[in-house]
Symmetry: C2
Subunit: 423 residues, 2 copies
């Protein structure tokens, strides 16, 4: 039987020959020592050393992307090679443990002097991780079942202003949004349990509105209640959401960490909306950190059901090809059958309007997503209900393969939206 291995891909920049640089990475993150010690036998290296699986050179850059590396005194040769390097480790080095995986694939590597750039771009994990991690509990199908939305994106929005509304004022905002016809509403990531808007009071007030609306219409809007906090707080808040008839919880992934997410997932009876705020710190530099492709795999295993991928022509720095690659990855199985694939719902947001429906559908090739708009709904000239109708019309057109301008001829709300949200 072949031992299960963990594989990680990096993009590096180095002033050393590539085979030497890759060997440094492998050594530092497994059996290597600066000074050879007696215990480091050949058998030990054979069984536990990380392996360099592939090196693909990209060409040189003129100047180092990060400081502190490859100086003449450290032996660099002045060139700055870029390359993709693939390493693998035997699972027996760390076992199927996400926290310890992280120390191995993303620990001290990025501080090594041999590298003026080092970014983790992908990981491939053996299914043994599914013995210890539950993966998403609801995913695409479970979220569709709870929202009652099929064959089109789940249209979402966020409560604004982010901070400052009282529980009752929040519920009033929610009333406007559910009456406008949205499928999904989320708290802002800045709003969790601040003294001016306590979690329990906010959720109680908001769920009264959502439950009343569901009683009248038969449609229960999904509300992602931001329960980010310490572990005991999150578990108690989850129970409060359940007790009030809520159908979703939200947590900021970077704020809580993988072990807390695992614990929340084990406890939860609701889908987990994983908010990626802070990912820019890890992901924005091309020379450092971690791609969202690698990052989201860790959190899917830990149990999230939805995550944010930004949106086409977003108001942040992320380019469209990166947004779409992230979104497609969320829908791509992590493991082959018979194992679960851990697919989750990508959430498009940030400056989204009727203009982004067609290009998003064309690039994603699927309607399995959330499409969240703030101003795109609230700032519609005909009001929020017209804003929601316009978004649905834009997606209907995209799915039917019709140009949005053509569709607008028969859809006054869409026409007004195209006028309001400039091309």
């Amino acid at each position: 039987m072949t031992e299960q291995r963990i594989t990680a891909t990096y993009e590096i920049e180095t002033a050393f020959p590539l085979d030497q640089a890759a060997a440094t990475m492998a050594g530092e993150q497994s059996t290597g020592t600066f000074v050879r010690v007696p215990g480091e036998t050949d058998e030990l290296r054979e069984a536990h050393a990380a392996r360099v699986e592939a090196i693909e050179e990209f060409g040189d850059v003129a100047a180092p992307s990060l400081p502190g590396s490859g100086l003449p005194k450290d032996g660099g040769d002045g060139r700055r090679r870029r390359a993709r390097v693939v390493l693998s480790w035997p699972l027996s080095n760390m076992g199927p443990s996400l926290p310890n995986l992280l120390a191995t694939i993303a620990g001290n590597l990025s501080e090594l002097k041999a590298f003026s750039g080092l970014k983790l771009t992908d990981i491939v994990l053996p299914p043994a991780f599914l013995d210890r991690y539950q993966g998403p509990q609801f995913g695409v199908e479970g979220t569709r079942r709870l929202t009652g939305v099929y064959d089109r994106p789940i249209v979402g929005t966020i409560i604004k202003p982010s901070v400052g509304l009282s529980p009752d004022a929040t519920a009033e905002q929610v009333r406007v949004l559910v009456e406008a016809g949205v499928d999904f509403i989320k708290d802002d990531e800045l709003q969790a349990d601040g003294p001016h808007c306590p979690f329990d009071a906010r959720i109680a007030a908001v769920m009264r509105v959502i439950n009343d609306h569901a009683d009248r219409t038969g449609r229960k809007v999904m509300y992602a209640a931001n329960l980010t906090g310490d572990v005991d707080e999150m578990l108690a808040r989850h129970d409060h959401v359940v007790a009030n008839g809520g159908t979703c919880i939200m947590a900021s992934m970077n704020s809580i960490g993988l072990p807390a997410m695992k614990q929340l997932r084990a406890h939860s009876r609701l889908p987990i909306h994983g908010h990626r705020n802070g990912w820019g710190m890890l992901g924005r530099s091309p020379a450092l950190g971690m791609s969202f492709i690698a990052y989201q795999k860790l959190w899917r295993l830990a149990g999230i059901d939805h995550t944010h991928v930004n949106g086409i022509d977003n108001k942040f720095c992320e380019p469209n090809d990166s947004v779409i690659a992230s979104a497609r990855e969320c829908l791509t199985p992590m493991f082959d059958p018979p194992h679960q694939g851990c697919e989750i719902i990508p959430v498009f947001s940030s400056g989204q309007s009727v203009r982004q429906a067609a290009p998003t559908y064309a690039a994603l090739g699927s309607v399995d997503c959330m499409f969240a708009a703030g101003g795109g709904i609230m700032a519609h000239p005909g009001g929020p209900a017209a804003g929601v109708r316009a978004l649905r019309q834009a997606w209907d057109a995209a799915i039917a393969g019709a140009a949005v301008e053509e569709a607008a001829k028969d859809s006054p709300e869409l026409k007004a939206a195209l006028g309001a949200f400039g091309g």
Copy 2:
């Protein structure tokens, strides 16, 4: 009564006028919305908006440090200004919650298009956080009490090779090290509970050696057992360490997250050695992420007792001034009396030898630190015991204000170390 506020300092790079850029930061992380909504009243802004406390311009740079920002279509003016910006928030926005603090001070900020660089460099928190977080349980004094080491650095070392030793082979390494006279030994961050070296078996084997040595000599060496894992695992492993007479636990901070650390601290009866592996991802870029100064404050509140600061002339990329600033910060109170200061022990490591004792002492101005050496002990020509003696002699000389070369005249181990570990 003045409301307690949270203050955060950033270094930014922007193609927009600085007052506009700072207002964008404050707006995005508090009451701001891209489209003004009805709920955003003047009263709400007055009570909850983040405040720009200070802007200090540094001058322009030629090219953007990060991509995706300030393009002509986004309204940038072509200049790239660098500046320090200080923002503050009322505590009532998020309450004294570290996870929610993180979403506020380090959430989506670094992805904003207005910035081609944005790094969090410091935070100042109100003492209300001490109502919810316990801070270090042992700190400097408690660690000295458990090790029995006073008036000099605690001399430490790490078990190598990092990965691959069985529990018994690990214990044999520990035997060599305790007999050599070290005060402190730590697991490698790659070694936690892998199938080839299970935690429980390793700790039992290692503690037999340490307990035997303590019975014979009266000196109990502190062993930082790396219990990094999921929450239930960490709590159980802590209990196993206690049951085996251990006096320290270690966890990789980035792997476990703040809520898990809080839970571990609440449960723990032992000092927590906080390992910062992976910090390079957050800290190495001058244009992105978080300084260690800001970072370590979060973890001190959450409850660590020791943390790594690299070392002078280390084998990683960090410059010496950054190393020393981090170390001094660990010893600087976070809160004024009567509140606890949450001081912790800085751990110097990475390529440390007798050569670094004097410059480290001169720069730190204190002996309240751990000084960890691997090769500097194991590769001493006279063996590990001579290696430990040489390190202690080097520190004795530094504390006495004597030049190391002078002190070596009366100290054969120090003389041999100076020969072996070139200047």
